[in-house]
Amino acid sequence: MTRIVGAVLAGLMTFGLVFGLAASLNLTSDGLGSATTVVAACQSGTLNATYTSTYTAAAPGPGYTVGTVTISGLASTCYSKPYKVTLATAAGASLGEATGTTPSSGTTIVVTFAPVVSAASVTAISVVISG
């Protein structure tokens, strides 16, 4: 028991010491606050992307282009949140970005790209949902 009390006292002393050290220098300071919390995704379930392509004679054709990406598997915990979807090359260069707000019902996000993206170049997709 004595020893436990001693340990607690040691802790309090440490606390006081830390504070006391600053004061003894007669130093003023701006406020500083810090904290840590976890930033979580709005869902843990898997999203799945599929692509709608159309033939275009004009640039970026002539050829097939991607104008719509449908992302399924949306959970209700991700409703009504801002999103950004990026189609990219294998090297990570952006071919096009689309932004919007996830729906407030259902399980799919229909993402429209304007201008459309050359289908031949699409090798990667990125999705960000925030809020």
Binding site: L17, G33, A35, T37, A49, Y64, A124, I125, G131
Partner: protein, 123 residues
């Protein structure tokens, strides 16, 4: 033994105390943020045979062959462009792969050079 336990307990309390004492803590919460990147896979990387089927000097359909089973169930979209006009069609790839003949919505004339674009969507 008892000593060791109590020393550890003391250290723990000290560490906590130091942590609390070192900075003025601020309450913070956060909204969610989720990020993901995925590769867009191809159902095949092998050579596909693409043959134009003709009738009276026009392209009426396109037969795409040597489709592997991994492309089974995909939707094959085809467009033939002869430099003047283009014609498109689509068909489902059989479950085991093989070949698919896609009828075109119109029949462009055969010319010296034609571009045929195709895309397999899915599975």
């Amino acid at each position: 033994m008892k000593h060791l336990r109590q020393v550890v307990l003391a250290l723990l309390v000290m560490a906590t105390g130091a942590a609390i004492g070192a900075a003025a803590s601020v309450n913070v919460t956060s909204t969610t943020l989720g990020v993901a990147t995925a590769t867009v896979p191809r159902c095949t990387a092998s050579g596909l045979s693409v043959l134009q089927n003709l009738s009276a000097g026009t392209v009426t359909s396109v037969t795409v062959g040597v489709l592997p089973a991994a492309c089974g169930g995909a939707i094959l979209q085809v467009t033939v462009n002869n430099g003047v006009t283009s014609a498109s069609g689509s068909a489902a790839v059989p479950g085991g792969g093989g070949s698919v003949t896609v009828a075109l919505g119109s029949t462009p004339a055969v010319t010296a050079v034609e571009q045929t674009d195709l895309v397999l969507v899915g599975p």
